[in-house]
Amino acid sequence: MEFQVWDFPGQIDIFDNPNFTFDMDAIFGEIGALIWVIDAQDDYLEAVARLNTTILHLQRSYPHINIEVFIHKVDGLSDDYRLDIQRDVTIRIQDELSDQGIENAPVNFHLTSIYNHSIFEAFSKVIQKLIPRLGQLEAMLTNLCRTCRFEKAYLFDVNTKIYIATDSTPADMASYEICSDYVDVIIDFTEVYGSWPRSQQWRDRLEAEPWCQPLEDQVACEWAESGMVLADARRPIMLREVDRFLALVAIMKEGSYDKMPQINMNVDVVVKGLTEFFEITKPKEAVVGAGVVGAGGGAGTSGAGPGNGATTGAGRMVTPGVVQG
C-alpha cells in the first residue's frame, strides 16, 4: 500500500484563487482523506471558518473524503482547556454543516502535538480508515492476543512509526508510546550492528567445526525478532519483523516470557497470515492520497507529520508526491 501526502500552503485558498489553478479533480478525485490543521495556541476562529467553507466544497463534489481535523500544538495547554477547544471547534463545524443541510459528514477531530506521540497516533487513525479490509487485519491481531495472552498488539509501519492496525482492546497512548519507542530502539541497533557486511573469514569460521552448518540453518528465524523484560511488573515486550516495512509489537502479560517458544509459534502463524494479507493487497497498488492542509501559516504541518509519505505494506518505496507551497 502506498500513501502520498500533499502538503498545501496555508495562506492560499485553493478553492478561490485565480493565480493558483489546481486541477481539482486531479487533486481530490483520488484523495482519501483531508487533514486540516488548526493552531490551538492561536486565534482559530478564522481557520474554523475557512475549514467550514472547505468542508462544504468537498461534501458537494467529493463526499467520500474523510475530513480529519488536527487541533494542533496542544502541548502548552491544560487538559481541560484542550477538551474545551475540541468541543468548541466541533460545535462550530457541526452547526455550520447542519445549517447547510449536511448531516453525518465524515469529520473527525484529533488533539495533537509534535512534543509527544499524539501526532503519530492521529496519523495512524487517519491511515487506518483508508486501509481496505482493515477489519480482517484487526481480527488477526485480536486472535493473536487471545491465544498468546498479549495485553496489546500493534502492527507498525517501521519507517513512520504509524500503526496500521491493532487488536480490538481500546488503544491507549501509553502502550502505543512504549511500542513505538521500542521500534526506534530496534532500528538504532539494526543500523549500528546490522547494516554493514561481515567478512568472509568471519562467516567461514562460524560455519566450520564444530557447527558445520550454514548460518541460515543455525538461526531459528530469518526475520528480526526481539524481546525485552521490564524490571517492575515484568511485563515483557516483543517485536517481530513481518517484512522490510512492517513490524508486530506486543505487550505481553506478566510471567508469559517463560512461554516464549509457544508464543513464537503462534506469532509465526500470524506473521505468515499478515504476509499473505499484504501479498494480496499489493498488486492493486492502491494510491490513497491524504491531503494535508495547513490553516494559516505556521500552524505546524510541515514538520508535524511522521515523515512525509507513509509507505505502508510490502510494496516498493516511492517518493511521495508533495506539493510544496
Partner: protein, 410 residues
C-alpha cells in the same frame, strides 16, 4: 593520575595491597574519591550536563534549571568503588572572581579533574578565554597533576557542515591559551618546571608550546550522543581497576565468541569498558558507544514513563534481539552497578550458551560492586594469573564447549 588521591591525601585511599598481591596493575583498590570541578561561564550548560548524565534528566528538562548559586556540591557513586565529588561551580562573574581570590585554595586544591565548558554561542570569546586562563593558572598552582577536559558545548547550534571547522579552530585557540597559562605559571614559579613531563597526549599537536598539562577537548551538545562520548572519557581514567575489567571482559568475549561487549554503569549508562573481536572492530560506526548510551538511556525514560516508576529506578532487566543471519545481541543487568551489552554472531545455540556464560561470569565481576567484597576472594587467583584468558574462561568455556557439542545435532 589514578594515584592522585593517594599522593595528595595519602590517608584517604588506603592501598589494597593488604588483600592482594603487590603487582600494581592487578591490585584491586578500595573506594577512590575524586574531586571534579565543573566550571565555565554562566549559562554554558554545566548543570544541564550533570543532570542528564547523573540524574536522568531529559535534555528538554534542563530548560527549567536556574543559575547555580555559588557551588553545588554532589557526591556521585560510580560503580561500587569510585565516588565523584562533583563541584558544580556557578559561573556568574562574581562567583568566578570569588573562586579565584578568597576561595582559591579551597576550590583548587586536591582536584583530580577540571571540566571546563565553553558555550559556542558566546559572543565574548576573548573574555571567556581570559577567565579560562585564570582558572588554569589557579589549577596549575594548586593541583598541577589534575587532568583538564575542555568541552566546546552547545554544538547543536552550529550548522552541521561547519561543526568540525568551528570546533578545530576553537580547540586550537584553547590549546594555545592553555600552554601560555602554564608557561606563565612556570615562569612565576620555577620550581614547577622540575615536575616530570607527562606523556604527550596524542591529541595535542601544538609543536612549540606544549602545555605541561593533560588536556583533552570535546565538542558536545545535550541534544545528541556527543555528551556521552565526552563524559565516558572523563570517567574512563577515573575508574579503579580498569586494567582488570578490561582483561576480564576480553576473556569473556573470547570465551563466548562475541563480536562486541560493552559494559555500562547502571545509572548514567556511560560506557565503562568495551571489547571487540577482530570482526567487531571492523564496525564502521565509530560513535556507536556513545550512541548505545544515548539509546539505552532514552529507552529507560520511555520505560519509566510507562511503568510510572522513578527515572533512577531500574527499568529493564533483559533484552534480546536477533536479526536473522546478520547478528544477535542481548543487553542485561550484569552486576549490581552495571549493565552489559553483548553483540554476537547469529545462531541460536551460540546465543543461548553466551547468555548462560555471561550469567555465570557475573561472579568474576563482583568487584565492580564495591569494596565490600575482599579483592582476593572476588577473583579466583587474583594477581598474575588474571591476565591469562583461561582463568576467567574456566567455568564459562566449559559451558560453551558443552553447548558446542550439542549444537550441531539440534
Amino acid at each position: 593520575m589514578s594515584d592522585l588521591e593517594t599522593t595528595s591525601a595519602p590517608s584517604a585511599a588506603p592501598s589494597a595491597g593488604e588483600s592482594g598481591p603487590p603487582a600494581a596493575h592487578t591490585q584491586l583498590k578500595k573506594v577512590k574519591k575524586q574531586k571534579v570541578l565543573l566550571m565555565g561561564k554562566s549559562g554554558s550548560g554545566k548543570s544541564s550536563m550533570r543532570s542528564i548524565i547523573f540524574s536522568n534528566y531529559l535534555a528538554r528538562d534542563t530548560r527549567r534549571l536556574g543559575a547555580t548559586i555559588d557551588i553545588d556540591l554532589s557526591h556521585v557513586k560510580f560503580l561500587g568503588n569510585l565516588t565523584l565529588n562533583l563541584w558544580d561551580c556557578g559561573g556568574q562573574e562574581a562567583f568566578m572572581e570569588n573562586y579565584l581570590s578568597q576561595q582559591r585554595a579551597h576550590v583548587f586544591s586536591n582536584v583530580g579533574v577540571l571540566i571546563y565548558v565553553f558555550d559556542i554561542e558566546s559572543r565574548d570569546v576573548e573574555r571567556d578565554l581570559a577567565t579560562y586562563v585564570n582558572i588554569i593558572s589557579a589549577l596549575v598552582q594548586y593541583s598541577r597533576e589534575a587532568k583538564v577536559f575542555v568541552l566546546i558545548h552547545k554544538m547543536d547550534l552550529v550548522q552541521p557542515i561547519t561543526r568540525e571547522d568551528v570546533f578545530d579552530q576553537r580547540a586550537a585557540l584553547v590549546r594555545r591559551k592553555t600552554a601560555e597559562a602554564v608557561a606563565i605559571m612556570h615562569k612565576a614559579k620555577p620550581e614547577l618546571q622540575q615536575q616530570q613531563r607527562l606523556p604527550t597526549h596524542p591529541r595535542m599537536t601544538s609543536p612549540t608550546l606544549e602545555p605541561d598539562i593533560d588536556l583533552q577537548l570535546f565538542a558536545t551538545s545535550i541534544w545528541d550522543q556527543s555528551l556521552y562520548k565526552a563524559w565516558a572519557s572523563i570517567i574512563h581514567d577515573l575508574v579503579p581497576n580498569l586494567a582488570v575489567i578490561e582483561t576480564q571482559l576480553a576473556s569473556l568475549g573470547v570465551a563466548i565468541d562475541a563480536d562486541e561487549i560493552l559494559l555500562f554503569e547502571r545509572t548514567s549508562f556511560l560506557v565503562v569498558s568495551k571489547w571487540a573481536s577482530r570482526e567487531g572492530d571492523r564496525n564502521p560506526y565509530g560513535d556507536r558507544f556513545e550512541r548505545m548510551s544515548n539509546i539505552l538511556k532514552s529507552w529507560k525514560h520511555t520505560c519509566s514513563k510507562y511503568t510510572g516508576t522513578p527515572r533512577n529506578a531500574e527499568q529493564f532487566s533483559d533484552f534480546e534481539y536477533k536479526m536473522g543471519t546478520t547478528f544477535s545481541m542481548f543487553a542485561t543487568k550484569f552486576t549490581t552497578n552495571t549493565y552489559i551489552l553483548v553483540c554476537m554472531p547469529p545462531g541460536e545455540a551460540r546465543f543461548n550458551s553466551a547468555k548462560l556464560n555471561v550469567a555465570a561470569a557475573r561472579t568474576w565481576f563482583k568487584f565492580l560492586d564495591g569494596p565490600a567484597v575482599p579483592a582476593a576472594a572476588s577473583i579466583p587467583g587474583a594477581g598474575g594469573v588474571m591476565s591469562s584468558p583461561h582463568m576467567i574462561a574456566g567455568t564459562p568455556s566449559t559451558y560453551a564447549a558443552d553447548w558446542r557439542m550439542a549444537a550441531p545435532s539440534d
